[in-house]
Symmetry: C2
Subunit: 135 residues, 2 copies
DNA sequence: CTTGACCTTCCAGTAACTGGAAGCCTTATA
DNA sequence: TATAAGGCTTCCAGTTACTGGAAGGTCAAG
């Protein structure tokens, strides 16, 4: 397989695959005489693993750790679980932060009449978070 | 006020303030004879506005738009509202994506015994999302 | 007059790629 | 066989929103 095909099959762009090689997430690919990268089924499996892990929000560095654990048949599942739990904690922090933003904003949006008049509680809040009559 | 003080009072680092100036989010600050930037209360208000908007997740470009609307006394509140609503839609998309990741991961984590044994449903899922007996 | 804190500019680095340029390789078709 | 299309190569730049650090000027206090 050339890089284009393995990219299509794994769901990772050719650009990204070259990038992963350049940073050492995956080893250097075999090359044809003319310099084209070639990939086998094993490489495809690895790329699919990476794609799936990335789609679950693991950073490239975390994926690197997951790949190492995947390859290590003596791994302890506790290590994998811990990595995943840390990641879930990160995700939860992000969700919490975003929900706070959304709640504040939706509250402001509700109070903005949103017509041709210039007065707007959203801007007022941004200009000075502690509005006089609020709360 | 020097940049350090206005930074402390606005909650934006001196580095970030210089950066905002460099990209044109804020105008060039007045300077002392020796070249130090100086800021007045008006600048402080602007920086606080920026800080607050950034903390609500608006991008710098969106903040630029909000600042323009804030300064424009002929603005229509509908414009502000639309900007905010778009932003909330972005946030909601992010939250939804993160919740999907979290749900998948917590499900996998529950099924991983997390001890010294190597077998691990998390890695199995990453290796091939469609496990044989699952679902 | 010398610290130490503060300020200046400029360069590099972060995360994880994507886009694009310039140029070779392969394959199909006229 | 010429050539055009599409795929491949490397390398550089750009993205977002800054932060860190180096080298050096300034200011207030002791």
């Amino acid at each position: 397989m050339n890089i284009g095909e393995v990219g299509r099959r794994s769901g990772i762009s050719a650009k990204a695959i070259r990038y992963y090689e350049s940073i050492g997430l995956i080893g250097p690919a075999d090359r044809t005489e003319s310099g084209y990268r070639t990939y086998g089924d094993h490489d495809l499996q690895t790329l699919r693993f990476i794609q799936r892990a990335r789609s679950l929000g693991f950073s490239v560095e975390e994926v690197s750790g997951l790949l190492a654990l995947w390859r290590d048949t003596d791994r302890q599942s506790a290590q994998v679980k811990a990595l995943a739990q840390n990641h879930v904690a990160d995700i939860d922090r992000k969700i919490t932060g975003l929900q706070g933003m959304r709640d504040t904003l939706t509250h402001l949006i509700e109070r903005c009449h949103g017509d041709e008049r210039p007065d707007c509680p959203i801007l007022e809040d941004l200009a000075g978070a502690a509005g006089p009559g609020s709360r």
